[in-house]
């Protein structure tokens, strides 16, 4: 079981969170019209066998979307931050 150290709520079990998937991607600007750019954003996943940047939503807590760095093999979490603060 993962435990995520929510920057607001503190250390909580994974059951309070909803997984939001890969966070290495950046949503293209709304006025981006090239389909291939959107296609990459929506479908392609680096899916590394190592450190993975990913979003988690603290559904049963402060409802913050968090950006987390986690090892996909050991599940060790090395960084947690508000997604809001880590954007471009």
């Amino acid at each position: 079981m993962l435990r995520i150290d929510c920057p607001f709520c503190g250390l909580r079990d994974e059951t309070e969170f909803t997984y939001g998937g890969d966070a290495s991607r950046t949503r293209p600007p709304l006025d981006e019209t090239r389909a291939e750019v959107w296609n990459d954003y929506v479908y392609q996943r680096p899916n590394p066998k190592g450190l993975h940047s990913e979003y988690w939503f603290h559904q049963h807590g402060c409802r913050s979307w968090l950006k987390i760095t986690r090892d996909m093999v050991s599940h060790e979490i090395t960084a947690v931050a508000y997604a809001k603060d880590t954007g471009e």
């Binding site: 079981m1 959107w38 809001k84």
Partner: protein, 990 residues
């Protein structure tokens, strides 16, 4: 028939002679004492034969005295409390206990299935894979017999009457195991001010101290145990959990434990759960899990009467039971002699000692001589003899070039000790592989890199209770930070090199896995056939896959693999230990979230009103909704047709509280809506609502609903019932991750507001009478107009919008006042004959109107597919606006929303029928579409349906076929507009 005589019971021990216990085994009434296990009580009564083996149905007795027991599995209890495969060696005895032997027919002593034993030479490793293949498809025939013969205990189809719960524990230090290492570790940590949780699977604390002879700090083990437990009981920082097994060790130092709260009573207290699954979150974990004794592999080593020497010591010293009357010890190391001495202390003289070592240390010769026990140095047991019980042994001198000369030894019991295997299951579950130590001929814990846990005592290889206690203390000091370096694992400087495990020459079966009947030759054969990895061998021979998961057999398998392949044992590898450490009750894992509590059941604030009105309910997502309100004698069909008709001709009221509702505020709210909906939102005035459609990023429709503008910067969004949670999460994702620059706040108000829709030609009149003084005229509340007011303390939000196609209003109030609103509307509706309708009629009305819902919004449809393409703005970008134009999503042959009318109007269609061209060719394949929603239209007095149909819009007016029952039912249908009634929306605007 009952007997009070426990013929093998001796004096001493820890059983409570003041509390005699009566129990049954295979129908026989027997006696034991409190403090016994079922196994010790059976032995006390002279019953050694307990079960039959898995494959050959050979007689099996009691082999161990704890959870490593492979043989003594019984069915416990009866009827709905029948529990199969319970280890007699770990089951506490209680008054009224009923147990039965397993896997035998017709009886334990005479088992017809033992005929398998005769054919055993053909039933070796992997035999299934090589036969039973002919004729094709005949496997199921053979399989029936194989399945019946396999398996162990019987289950029941009756539901479990007991309850289970989960508990969450937090501690600074969790100590697993309460032997010498665990007790001293717990005490050390607690005295340093740490919160300690001490977890013990047994019903008594003490582990090996409960039976093992020895001394700690000059005190006898038993005395040290008593004193230490007294200190622990007086230490407020220690919480003790007995009858609790740490079955799993998960990431973040979480131990999964199961506490058997009421498995030692006949009739559980119904207010208390039978078992608890405890999630123990500890900063540091000490694994003081002890070690299992290893058996030897020799011929017929599965006979009842052959057991581990540690088990014999436990039966004698803890349970005061003599395992047999003429006992022989077979060993190759120190601890065997310790047991011999311990037994001697109790006046039990072994009949012989067979020591496989060469040479045997002088001190052991001395011991044997002084004790008057014949010692056979450098001898091996080749074969055991006996039928249902051990009768004797064939032993031989080990040595090169010796002509094997058999010596026959008579005995009824063999106790054996071939070495020790630290219990590393929990550590191994964390992905840390055990490491083979040649000097010890044993596996020791691997390195814990993160310093979160450590193995202590016998689990770290320490052979004596004193060493273990000292090590436990050191490990605790290290983990609490009082010592800098991790205490070492056991590494004796002058360890004698281990003598090789003898390979007996015998034609008899030499078992490695006693429960699964896997023999040494099975493993040899597997290796010959190319199965070399321990994982392969395990799967090919099934070694280690029985209920005991190979606790006493795995290491012997690895040894044999190393011998057979002539490989260093360290290079052989190991199999992976996985949770649970011992079998885990499924009910405990499920806890309380079962049956009606599997998922939450959401109730509308009008729920009581519906119950009073006699509604039948149906689930929609997590919600319970009124399905229909049956009149006398009405079923759902009759009721919904009536209800829908009443709406069309008069007025009806339906609960719409289940819709998701989101409060949206902020200066950028309009911009936000403009980005998430396909249509434009910048121009919506305050006091108006608009229908909106959301796409996913991939261009498929995600959800729809109306959003009302309540103020300059304030909106009220509704979503579908089932989509509510996902939409809210999606919107928060966009705001927090992608567009943090937008000043918009979202709050779910789904539970804050309850609402109903009043629909039908007389709906305005109902509102008029219900809210006298409120102007509900067309001018005051036009189509999609929003009105907010307070009516005698009742906050009301109304929007004129329609799902049914009729003139209709959604009326909301705060949820706690839902009953008041209901009463007000019912009262106001009386003069207008206001009727109630449920979700089935609501569905009928929306189908007539051609509104899409769940069956059409199936995650595979685009706005254009649903006939809503025109809503999509071409002037702005929005979520999904680019990918919706991919070639596959704009093809002409996509399935589009269409209406269907069976040519024979009284022929019902069914949702899920496939559609085919009306060309008379036998329907085959996926067809050109499928029926999504069906209803009888009270308005049109005929059956109608919605469909997703290839080129559906172009096909209007053509005849096609709807097919069901695999082609057996073919119905001619005419394609039409999905808007069956009022396509121009005149009623809506009335």
């Amino acid at each position: 028939m009952s007997t009070d005589r426990q013929k093998l019971r001796i004096g001493g021990g820890l059983v409570d002679r003041g509390k005699p216990v009566t129990f049954r085994f295979d129908g026989r009434v027997l006696k034991g004492f409190a403090g016994d296990t079922l196994a010790s009580a059976l032995l006390a009564n002279g019953r050694h034969l307990v079960g039959r083996s898995f494959k050959y149905h050979r007689p099996r007795g009691i082999f161990a005295a704890g959870v490593e027991e492979p043989n003594a599995l019984v069915e416990l209890g009866a009827e709905d409390r029948l529990t199969p495969n319970v280890q007699a060696t770990a089951q506490e005895l209680y008054e009224g206990l009923q147990a039965k032997s397993q896997n035998r027919w017709p009886s334990l002593r005479f088992d017809l299935m033992a005929v398998n034993n005769l054919f055993s030479r053909f039933l070796t490793a992997g035999f299934y894979y090589k036969t039973f293949m002919w004729p094709a498809g005949a496997w199921e025939f053979y399989e029936k017999f194989i399945r019946r013969a396999a398996g162990m205990g019987k289950g029941t189809h009756l539901p479990d009457p007991d309850t289970y719960e989960h508990v969450h524990d937090h501690a600074d230090i969790a100590v697993v195991g309460s032997g010498p290492a665990g007790l001293s570790a717990a005490l050390t940590a607690a005295e340093a001010g740490k919160d300690v949780l001490l977890i013990e699977q047994d019903f008594e604390l003490g582990g090996t101290l409960l039976y093992e002879a020895g001394e700690i700090a000059g005190q006898a083990n038993a005395d040290w145990r008593r004193q230490t437990i007294a200190r622990i009981n007086g230490e407020p920082k220690i919480r003790v959990l007995t009858r609790t097994t740490a079955f799993g060790y998960y990431e973040n130092n979480i131990l999964g434990c199961v506490e058997r709260v009421q498995d030692h009573v006949l009739t559980p207290d119904p207010h208390v759960p039978r078992q608890r699954l405890r999630h123990v979150r500890a900063e540091k974990v000490i694994l003081a899990t002890g070690a299992f004794e290893r058996p030897f592999v020799f011929g017929n080593n599965d006979l009842p009467g052959i057991l581990l020497s540690s088990a014999a010591e436990a039966y004698v010293n803890r349970y005061a039971v003599l395992p047999g009357e003429k006992m022989v010890l077979y060993t190759n190391q120190e601890s065997g002699y310790r047991v011999a001495a311990s037994l001697l202390e109790r006046g039990i003289r072994l009949a012989a000692i067979i020591d496989a070592r060469s040479p045997v240390p002088t001190r052991h010769h001395h011991f044997a001589r002084e004790a008057g026990i014949p010692l056979y140095p450098a001898h091996e047991v080749a074969e055991a003899k006996g039928g249902l019980h051990l009768k004797g042994l064939v032993i031989r001198k080990i040595g090169d070039g010796l002509e094997p000369r058999d010596i026959r030894l008579d005995c009824d019991t063999l106790i054996q000790s071939a070495g020790w295997a630290p219990v590393l299951h929990l550590q191994s579950q964390r992905g840390i592989k055990p490491v083979y130590h040649a000097a010890l001929d044993s596996y020791l814990p691997g390195k814990c890199a993160d310093g979160q846990h450590a193995c202590a005592g016998a689990a770290a290889g320490y052979p004596t209770s004193e060493d273990a206690a000292v090590h436990g203390h050191k490990v605790a000091r290290y983990l609490i930070g009082a010592a800098k370096t991790a205490p070492r694992l056991y590494a004796p400087k002058d360890a004698p090199p281990p003598s090789p495990a003898p390979v007996p020459l015998t034609r008899a079966k030499c078992f490695v896995d006693l429960q699964h009947d896997v023999t040494r030759s099975d493993i040899e054969q597997g290796v010959r056939e190319g199965f070399r990895s321990p994982e392969h061998i395990k799967r090919y021979t099934t070694q280690g896959m029985a209920a005991d998961q190979g606790k006493t057999g795995n290491i012997n398998t690895l040894k044999i693999l190393s011998q057979v392949q002539d490989k260093e044992q360290s290079g052989v590898g190991t199999t992976t230990f996985r949770p649970p450490y011992t079998p885990l009750t499924i009910g405990a894992v499920a806890g309380r979230s079962i049956a009606g509590e599997l998922r939450p059941t959401r109730l509308s604030p009008f729920h009581d009103c519906h119950v009073r009105a006699g509604a039948e309910f149906i689930t929609a997502g997590d919600w319970l909704r009124p399905w229909y309100y049956p009149g006398p004698g009405e079923d759902v069909t009759a009721a919904y047709i009536r209800e829908a008709g009443e709406v069309r001709s008069g007025v009806g009221m339906v609960d719409v509280s289940t819709l998701g509702k989101i409060d949206i505020q902020g200066p950028d709210a309009a911009e936000f809506l403009n980005r998430v909906y396909v249509n434009g939102w910048k121009t919506l005035p305050v006091g108006k609502a608009r229908y909106g459609l959301m796409l996913r990023d991939d261009g498929m429709v995600m959800d729809d609903g109306t959003t009302w503008r309540l103020g300059e910067h304030h909106y009220f969004m509704t979503t579908t019932t089932t989509g509510a949670g996902a939409v809210m999460r999606h919107l928060e994702y966009l705001l927090q991750i992608d567009w943090p620059e937008l000043k918009v706040h979202l709050t779910s108000v789904s539970d804050e507001w309850g609402g109903v829709a009043i629909a039908g030609p007389r709906s305005r009149a109902v509102l008029g009478s219900s809210f006298p003084g409120v102007d509900v005229s067309t001018e005051a509340i036009p189509h999609m107009g929003v009105l907010e007011f307070d009516h005698e303390g009742l906050p009301v939000r109304i929007c004129r919008l329609s799902f049914s196609g009729e003139l209709a209003f959604e009326v909301y109030t705060r949820a706690g006042f839902a009953g008041n609103l209901w009463d007000l509307l019912t009262e106001g509706g009386k003069p207008h004959d206001l009727r109630l309708y449920g979700s089935e009629a609501l569905g009928a009305l929306r189908i007539e109107k051609g509104h899409v819902a769940g069956p059409e919004l199936d995650g595979r449809t685009t706005a254009d597919d649903l006939g809503l393409g025109g809503m999509q703005s071409t002037k702005k970008a929005y979520v999904g606006s680019v990918l919706k134009n991919r070639e596959g999503l704009i093809r002409n042959d996509r399935r589009q929303l269409a209406g269907l009318k069976p040519v024979e109007g009284d022929t019902p269609l069914k949702a899920g029928m496939l559609l085919f061209e009306g060309d008379g060719i036998t329907p085959k394949g996926h067809g050109i579409g499928h029926v999504t929603s069906v209803t009888y239209s009270p308005e049109l007095k005929r059956h109608i349906a919605l469909a997703l149909l290839a080129e559906g819009r172009e096909r209007v007016g053509t005849l096609i076929r709807a097919v069901d029952n695999g082609g057996a039912t073919v119905i001619d249908v005419k394609v039409c507009s999905p808007h069956f009634i009022d396509p121009e929306g005149e009623r809506l605007h009335a």
